[in-house]
């Protein structure tokens, strides 16, 4: 039996849970966004508009696009995760009197 509040490994589990909850859903969302975006936009056309004269391949465009989406979605997840943490408003820590 594995009680959920056992002390050994709890910190590791909490860390993995937090970073997993930030990185994993944002990875899926970035993949979806990337799929829809590049279905309509060819990275080479985007290069001609934004960086004409630079030799950037389609693969680089897809990779950069994916990581850009992932950075943005991960940032949103991280801020959500941060805001969901309990506030230190509880006055139990303050000395009485």
């Amino acid at each position: 039996m594995r009680p959920s509040n056992d002390p050994p490994g709890t910190r590791r589990r909490t860390l993995i849970q937090y970073w997993g909850a930030v990185l994993w859903p944002s990875f899926i969302a970035a993949g979806l966004a990337c799929g829809v975006f590049f279905a309509f936009v060819d990275p080479l056309r985007l290069r001609d508009i934004s960086f004409p004269g630079q030799a950037l391949s389609r693969e680089l465009g897809y990779t950069l696009g994916f990581f850009m989406f992932w950075a943005v979605t991960a940032l949103a997840s991280a801020v959500t995760g941060y805001l969901l943490r309990p506030l230190p408003r509880d006055d139990d820590e303050l000395p009485l009197g």
Binding site: M1, I16, G20, A21, R58
Partner: protein
């Protein structure tokens, strides 16, 4: 918990192992399949063309791909409602690769007696599997024969190299280290699955009426059926289960005479066999991925003691209570309706 009671016969049927091998072989064969002289499944990103078994899709056809994903999601919901978490226990890549990595770890420890050597070989094996998985995955996005031919002497483009290493690292971390923690804390489907369950969905269940009160005993006294004790009433059974699960609240269980004991030997074979060390006797657990290891472990103990098997088995709540099975249920109908609607929409588009 007491020590295991008896030498345990291994379960004869290894269909789960065979299924894992078949799924792994299927995944690794997928990019090698040919169709009309082209790779059968190729999401060719540089050429902006998707080959799907002789059917070429262009970027504008992305709706078809999302439709396919929606059909698969509805099928998974239907499967979960009808069969429980069969996907988690048998077909999920996390489970299949996790089992493979665990098998490599186990075999290394079994055959190599020097711990340092066993650890080294284990990591070499894990790295090789992870790398091959990464190559196969990238082989769905760039022609696999050129990718494999370019492996040595290193003719990959920077992006092929990067994505192979990215997926190899993800495989290595997920299957080697995170394992069932992914199911416990990170998987959205694991959270969703219980809401697709109803009283007729099979789950891994412990027959507390037959098993309780649990305890060690001398050999030769027979199962509850053989010695005529029969099944407990549900209230007493759940009372014993609760007391065994919460000794701090309920105090230690009393010692029962051998002829009053249920069929559970309290050998903890089910807990040791569970990849998450869950105790299935505490009731159907939301964390359980229904891999069935505890069922096999318990059946082996039951056979060793010449008791009938099935003290832990895959059964629905209705089946455990002897109620008739219903096939037309709200969740099944909703999933089926969604699936039929998606397929009809897909057929109209074609």
């Amino acid at each position: 918990m007491s020590a295991p009671c008896a030498p345990v016969a291994r379960p004869a049927l290894r269909w789960r192992g065979l299924l894992s091998v078949a799924l792994l072989a299927g995944f690794h064969a997928l990019p090698w399949l040919r169709w009309d002289g082209r790779q059968a499944l190729l999401f060719d990103l540089p050429a902006r063309r998707f080959d799907l078994f002789g059917w070429a899709l262009w970027p504008g056809d992305v709706g078809v791909l999302f439709g396919l994903v929606a059909v698969m999601a509805c099928s998974l919901a239907l499967l979960t409602s009808l069969g429980g978490r069969v996907w988690c226990g048998h077909a999920c890549p996390q489970t299949v690769w996790g089992t493979l990595f665990r098998w490599v770890e186990h075999e290394c420890a079994r055959w190599l007696h020097r711990p340092a050597l066993a650890t080294t070989i284990k990591h070499v094996g894990w790295a090789a599997i992870a790398l091959w998985t990464g190559i196969t995955f990238v082989g769905l996005f760039t022609p696999i024969d050129a990718l494999v031919a370019g492996f040595w002497p290193g003719r990959w483009s920077a992006w092929e190299r990067f994505w192979v290493l990215f997926y190899a690292t993800a495989t290595w971390a997920n299957a080697g280290f995170l394992r069932e923690q992914v199911c416990l804390d990170l998987c959205p489907y694991a959270r969703l699955a219980p809401s697709l369950f109803d009283a007729d969905t099979p789950q891994v269940c412990y027959d507390a009426r037959r098993g309780e009160p649990r305890g060690r005993r001398a050999r030769g006294c027979g199962s509850v059926q053989q010695r005529g004790r029969g099944l407990l009433d549900p209230t007493s059974a759940s009372d014993y289960t609760f007391r065994a699960a919460h000794p701090a609240l309920a105090g230690p269980l009393p010692r029962f005479a051998d002829d009053r004991l249920g069929d559970c030997l309290d050998c903890a074979a089910c807990v040791h066999a569970c990849p998450m060390q869950l105790d299935v006797r505490n009731g159907p657990l939301p964390d359980c991925i229904a891999c069935g290891n505890c069922v096999d472990a318990c059946d082996a103990q039951m056979r060793a003691w010449r008791f009938p098997v099935g003290l832990i088995r895959v059964a629905s709540a209705n089946a455990m209570q002897g109620r008739p099975r219903r096939w037309l249920r709200p969740r099944v109908l909703a999933a089926l309706g969604g699936l039929v609607m998606m397929l009809a929409m897909g057929l109209r588009q074609l």
